[in-house]
C-alpha cells in the first residue's frame, strides 16, 4: 500500500526529527541518557546473552543450591543451584520481545479503533469510545488475568495479544486525539475537495503527522507492559516454568525470601531497572517530539 515515494518521504520526515538536534537535546537531559543507557544495557543482554551468561540458565546443580553471591556465582544461585546471573541475563530476552510486541500490537489496534472513531465522529465515535471506557474501567491486571484464564495453555503470543487488547483503550484515545488534531487542518480539506478516498485521507495525509505521539505512546506502553508481564508471571498466569521469566523467578523464590534474599532481589531489580529505564526514555521522547 505504501509506495516507494511515501516511504522516502516518511524517512525524510524521520531524518529531520531525529537529526543532530535529537542528540543535542539528549545530551542536555541526564534522565533521558540514563533511561536510554538502561534500555540499551538490557537490549545488549538479550542479544548477546548466551555469550555473556557464565552458565546455562536452566542447568541444575543441587550441590550449589542457595549459595550466596560469590566470585563463582556473582548473584548467587536458587534452590536448584541455577546461576541467578545467567537466569536474569537470559530472562531479559523474553521480556523485551514480549514488551516490544505488546507496544506494537497495542498501538496498531489503537490506530484502527481510534482513527475509525475520530474520522467518522458522531454516533460511531460515541459508541466506540464508550466501549473503550468500559474496557478501561476494569483494572488492567484483572482483565488480563481473566482473559488468560480462559485460554488453557497461554503462550508468549497469546500473552502479547491479550495485554495489547487490555491496553488498546489507551492507545485508541491517543490515536483518536492525534487524528482529531489534524482532521480539521486545511490540507485535509484540500484532499477532500480533490475527491480523495477515506484511506488516502487517513493513511497518506493524516497518519504521517501522528507518528510522533504514537511513538511516544508506544514507548510508554513498552514500559508499562514490562510491569504487567512481570506481574502476570509472578501471579502464575501467563508464562510457565522453567522459562527464565523475571516475574516467574520472583514468584518461584518468594518462599525463600528470608533464606536467600538474592533469589528475589536480583530479578526484582532487573524488572525495576528496565521499567525505570524505559519510562525515563519514553518521557524524554515525549518532550522532544512534542517540541519539534
Amino acid at each position: 500500500m505504501i509506495s516507494k515515494k511515501t516511504r522516502k518521504q516518511i524517512s525524510t520526515y524521520f531524518r529531520d526529527r531525529f537529526s543532530r538536534k535529537f542528540f543535542l537535546k539528549l545530551r542536555r537531559t541526564p534522565t533521558g541518557i540514563f533511561g536510554l543507557f538502561l534500555v540499551l544495557l538490557w537490549v545488549t543482554m538479550s542479544i548477546f546473552g548466551p555469550f555473556i551468561a557464565p552458565y546455562s540458565p536452566t542447568k541444575m546443580n543441587m550441590a550449589q543450591a542457595y549459595s550466596s553471591p560469590s566470585s563463582n556465582h556473582l548473584l548467587g544461585t536458587d534452590r536448584y543451584g541455577r546461576d541467578m546471573l545467567s537466569r536474569v541475563i537470559i530472562g531479559s530476552r523474553s521480556i523485551l520481545t514480549t514488551a516490544l510486541g505488546i507496544s506494537i500490537i497495542s498501538v496498531f489496534i489503537g490506530i484502527v479503533i481510534g482513527f475509525t472513531a475520530g474520522y467518522f465522529g458522531g454516533i460511531v465515535d460515541e459508541v466506540i469510545m464508550r466501549l473503550m471506557d468500559i474496557l478501561m474501567s476494569i483494572p488492567s491486571l484483572l482483565l488480563a488475568m481473566v482473559m488468560l484464564g480462559i485460554i488453557v495453555s497461554p503462550g508468549v503470543l497469546s500473552v502479547m495479544i491479550i495485554i495489547s487488547i487490555v491496553y488498546s483503550p489507551r492507545t485508541a484515545r491517543v490515536a483518536r486525539s492525534a487524528l482529531l488534531e489534524y482532521k480539521s487542518e486545511e490540507f485535509v480539506d484540500a484532499a477532500r475537495i480533490r475527491g480523495e478516498s477515506f484511506f488516502h485521507i487517513v493513511f497518506v495525509e493524516i497518519f504521517p503527522n501522528t507518528v510522533a505521539p504514537l511513538i511516544v505512546e508506544g514507548s510508554a506502553r513498552f514500559a508499562y507492559s514490562i510491569m504487567t508481564v512481570a506481574s502476570l508471571g509472578f501471579l502464575g498466569v501467563g508464562l510457565r516454568p522453567p522459562t527464565p521469566d523475571w516475574g516467574l523467578m520472583v514468584a518461584e523464590n518468594k518462599g525463600s525470601i528470608f533464606l536467600a534474599p538474592w533469589t528475589v532481589i536480583f530479578p526484582a531489580l532487573a524488572i525495576a531497572s528496565l521499567v525505570i529505564g524505559a519510562s525515563l526514555f519514553a518521557e524524554f521522547l515525549d518532550k522532544y517530539l512534542r517540541r519539534v
Binding site: R20, F187, A190, I193, G195, P208
Partner: protein, 686 residues
C-alpha cells in the same frame, strides 16, 4: 510636527535606549534579536514602531518591560528611564520602577484578562494591592477609568466577567487597566491587530483622546504602517533587529528614504488603486530568519539599490537631516531620485475586462444560498445570499469577521452541505457536498486557503503536494509528472530546488505559492481564495497578489476572492459584494462600491481602512458596538443596531428592499436612493 520639536527641545527623553542588543540563547547557538538599537521617546509623544514579523519590535518592548523570558538577555547597551539606568538595576529595583511608571497593552485581549475575576476587580486590584486606595475606593476608581474608555454603562461592565465582553470591549478594558497605575509610558503591542477594522478605528480614536487626558507617552507597535501613521508623532522602522529609519510621520509617509520603508509603503495597495491602474510593488524575498542574518546591511539581500559596500559594511543609524535618522549608505542618492511615477494604466487588461463584462458568461451563480449550523441553537452563518460571477472575472467578498464569508466559501466548494438555496456552476446545480459531486466538477473548482501553516501537509514534500492533483486528474507519472510539476512551480515563481522541500523549510509566502500551484494543477475554471494573504507580511502579500493576477491573465480563471481588507479586495476585484451577518448588503462593480451612493455599512468600512498617506483625507465614521451574534440576528435590516443613518422603526421591522442603482449595482437599504446619493465621498485625495 512643530509641537513635536518643541517637546523635544524642552524635555529630557523619558526613555532612552542606547546601543541595546538583546540575544536569545537556543539549543545550539545565540541569536541576536536586537542589535545596537538607539532610540528615545519623549514625554507625551507617541512613538510608532513598525516592521514585519520577526523584526524584533516585541522584543524591544519586552526588554523595556524586563519580560524577556527564560532564554532572552540584554547582551549590551542600556535602557535609561527618566535618568535611571534600568539595565544596571537589580531585578527588584527594575520591577519597582517599571511597575510605577510603565504599562503595557498586549495584542490578544482575551488572554490578557483573567477569566475568573470580574473586570472591576482586575482593574481595582492594581490600586489596592499597593495599598494606595481602599478596596471600595479602588473599585470606584476602576469604574471611573472604564467610563473614560468610552465604555457605556461602565458600572455594569465592571461587575461582568471577561467572556461576556466583545474583543473591542476587552481591549478597552486592557487599556484602562494599563492606565490605572497612572504610568508615564504606555507600550502597546499590536493592540488592534486582532480586531475588525471598524472596531480598530474606535480604539485608535480612543487612544488619541487618552494621550491628552492622561499625559502619557505611548510606544505603539504595529506591522501596519497605515495604522501607525494615524496615531504616531514619530515613527521608527525596524528590520531584522535593527532600527533602519526614524522620522516624523509626515517625513516617513511622504518622503521615505530607506529602501525598506519605501518598499513597505509602496507594496500596500493604496486606497482607490486597482489592478488596471498599476502593478503592486513588492520587496523581493522575505524576511530572513535570525540564523541567517546577512553580513553588511541587513536589508542588502532584498534591496534594489544594494552595491558592494552594502554587502560588507553595516550602515549605522545616522542623522540625515533635522530629526531624521536613516541607516543606509545610499540614503542621499535614493532621496534625489523622486518617487518613481505610477505606471501607466494597463490598457490591455482594461479592454479585456470590458469585453468580458459585456459578453461574459455566468460561471457561478448563487441563489438564496443558506447555511445554518445547528448546535442547540441555530446559527445562521449564511442566510440567503444571491450573486453571480462571470468567467475570467474576480468577485471580491468583503466583510468583518463573523459575517459568514468563510462559511460561504466552504459551502460553495462543497466542504459543507448547504441548508437551502442552489449553487449553479456553469449551469449545473451543484448544491451538495464534495463526496456527492463528480470528479470533473471537483477539478474545475479549486481553493486557496487562509493559513499557510495548515494548508500544506507537514509530512509531504512539494513534489507530492503539487503532483497528487496531476496524478489524480491526468494519471501521468515519471518524467512527465516531473516536468509538469516543474512547470507549475515555475508559474508560481518557485525554482526547481523547491521540488523536494518540506513545508517547514519554507516561508509563509512560499507555502502560499505552493498552495496556489496545487490549485492551478487541476487547470481550474474557478479558484476560491479565502483570505490567502491575510497571514502574510505586507511585503510578501503584494507579490502573492501579483502572482494571482498574472495567473488570471494567462489562464482566464475566475476568482472568488474573500478578504476583510477592503484595499486588497478593491485592487484585485472586478465586482465586490459587501457582506454583513450572513447577508449581502451591497454588490456592484468595484468603482460603484467605492463611490456614493454607499450602503451605510460600506461607508463605515471604507472610512475605517487605515491609509498610510498623510495627504489623503478620510472621514471617520464611528460604529456603535460590535457585530451582533449570528445566533440571534437583529430583525429587519441586520445592520440597524449599529447603523449611523438608521431611519427609525422601519429598519427594525422590515427587511430592506433591493435598490438597483444601475443594472449591476444593488444596495439593500430603506434609505431612498436620492438620499444615499447625496452622501459625501469618504475618502478625498489631496
Amino acid at each position: 510636527m512643530n509641537s513635536n520639536r518643541r517637546i523635544k527641545q524642552e524635555n529630557q527623553p523619558l526613555v532612552e535606549v542606547k546601543d541595546l542588543s538583546v540575544h536569545y540563547s537556543t539549543l545550539d547557538r545565540e541569536l541576536g534579536a536586537l542589535r545596537n538599537i538607539n532610540l528615545s521617546v519623549y514625554p507625551q509623544e507617541t512613538y510608532g514602531l513598525v516592521g514585519e514579523s520577526g523584526c524584533g519590535k516585541s522584543t524591544l518592548a519586552f526588554s523595556i518591560m524586563n519580560y524577556l523570558g527564560e532564554n532572552g538577555f540584554v547582551a549590551g547597551g542600556e535602557i535609561i528611564f527618566s535618568g535611571q539606568v534600568l539595565t544596571e538595576k537589580s531585578e527588584k529595583e527594575f520591577r519597582a520602577i517599571q511597575s510605577e511608571n510603565i504599562s503595557m497593552v498586549y495584542q490578544n485581549p482575551s488572554s490578557a484578562l483573567n477569566p475568573v475575576l470580574k473586570i472591576g476587580e482586575q482593574i481595582a486590584e492594581i490600586k489596592h494591592i499597593r495599598k494606595e486606595l481602599s478596596r471600595e475606593q479602588s473599585w470606584n476608581k476602576a469604574v471611573e477609568i472604564l467610563e473614560s474608555m468610552n465604555i457605556p454603562d461602565a458600572a455594569n461592565v465592571a461587575s461582568r466577567y471577561p467572556h461576556q465582553l466583545s474583543g473591542g470591549m476587552k481591549q478597552r478594558v486592557c487599556i484602562g487597566m494599563a492606565l490605572m497605575s497612572e504610568p508615564s509610558l504606555l507600550i502597546m503591542d499590536e493592540p488592534t491587530t486582532n480586531l475588525d477594522v471598524t472596531t480598530e478605528q474606535v480604539i485608535l480614536d480612543l487612544i488619541q483622546g487618552l494621550k491628552e487626558k492622561y499625559k502619557v507617552a505611548i510606544v505603539y507597535i504595529s506591522h501596519d504602517l497605515g495604522v501607525v501613521m494615524e496615531i504616531a508623532d514619530r515613527i521608527g522602522i525596524m528590520y531584522l533587529g535593527k532600527l533602519v529609519e526614524e522620522g516624523s510621520k509626515e517625513d516617513i509617509g511622504l518622503r521615505p528614504i530607506h529602501p525598506y520603508t519605501r518598499g513597505l509603503i509602496s507594496c500596500v495597495p493604496e486606497i482607490g488603486i486597482a489592478k488596471e491602474d498599476t502593478r503592486l510593488k513588492s520587496i523581493p524575498g522575505s524576511v530572513p530568519s535570525l540564523t541567517e542574518i546577512p553580513p553588511g546591511c541587513v536589508f542588502n539581500s532584498r534591496c534594489s539599490f544594494s552595491e558592494s559596500r552594502c554587502l560588507q559594511d553595516e550602515p549605522h543609524l545616522v542623522n540625515y537631516e533635522n530629526d531624521r535618522m536613516v541607516a543606509c549608505w545610499k540614503a542621499h542618492q535614493i532621496e534625489e531620485k523622486e518617487k518613481p511615477p505610477k505606471q501607466d494604466s494597463d490598457a490591455e487588461s482594461k479592454r479585456k475586462r470590458e469585453a468580458i463584462s459585456r459578453n461574459g458568461k455566468v460561471l457561478l451563480e448563487l441563489e438564496d444560498l443558506k447555511k445554518y449550523f445547528k448546535n442547540g441553537h441555530t446559527v445562521k452563518a449564511v442566510d440567503g445570499v444571491s450573486m453571480h460571477l462571470l468567467t475570467a472575472n474576480t468577485l471580491g467578498v468583503v466583510g468583518e469577521s463573523g459575517c459568514g464569508k468563510t462559511t460561504m466559501a466552504r459551502t460553495i466548494i462543497g466542504l459543507l452541505e448547504p441548508t437551502g438555496g442552489t449553487i449553479f456552476f456553469d449551469g449545473i446545480d451543484i448544491s451538495r457536498p464534495w463526496y456527492k459531486r463528480n470528479k470533473e466538477t471537483l477539478n474545475r473548482m479549486q481553493m486557496v486557503f487562509q493559513d499557510p501553516e495548515s494548508t500544506l501537509n507537514p509530512a509531504h514534500s512539494v513534489r507530492k503536494i503539487v503532483g497528487r492533483t496531476l496524478i489524480l486528474k491526468e494519471g501521468i507519472s515519471g518524467s512527465e509528472l516531473e516536468k509538469r510539476i516543474l512547470e507549475l512551480l515555475q508559474k508560481v515563481n518557485l525554482g526547481s530546488e523547491f521540488m523536494d522541500r518540506m513545508p517547514f523549510q519554507m516561508s509563509g509566502g512560499q507555502k502560499q505559492r505552493v498552495s496556489i500551484a496545487r490549485a492551478f494543477a487541476a487547470n481550474p475554471d474557478l479558484v476560491i481564495c479565502d483570505e490567502p494573504t491575510s497571514s502574510l507580511d505586507v511585503s510578501v502579500q503584494s507579490s502573492v497578489l501579483n502572482l494571482l493576477l498574472d495567473l488570471q491573465r494567462d489562464t482566464d480563471t475566475s476568482y472568488l476572492f474573500i478578504s476583510h481588507d477592503l484595499n486588497v479586495v478593491h485592487y484585485l476585484s472586478d465586482y465586490i459584494a459587501v457582506t454583513y451577518l450572513g447577508k449581502i448588503c451591497e454588490v456592484g462593480e468595484k468603482e460603484q462600491i467605492f463611490q456614493p451612493p454607499y450602503h451605510p455599512y460600506t461607508e463605515a468600512l471604507i472610512s475605517a481602512v487605515p491609509v498610510p498617506n498623510p495627504n489623503v483625507k478620510q472621514r471617520h465614521i464611528k460604529l456603535k458596538g460590535s457585530t451582533p451574534s449570528a445566533i440571534n440576528p437583529p430583525s429587519g435590516c441586520r445592520f440597524h443596531t449599529r447603523c449611523p443613518r438608521k431611519l427609525g422603526s422601519i429598519c427594525e421591522t422590515q427587511k430592506p428592499p433591493s435598490i438597483a442603482v444601475t443594472e449591476s449595482h444593488l444596495i439593500k437599504c430603506h434609505i431612498p436612493l436620492e438620499e444615499l446619493a447625496k452622501v459625501e465621498p469618504v475618502v478625498k485625495v489631496g
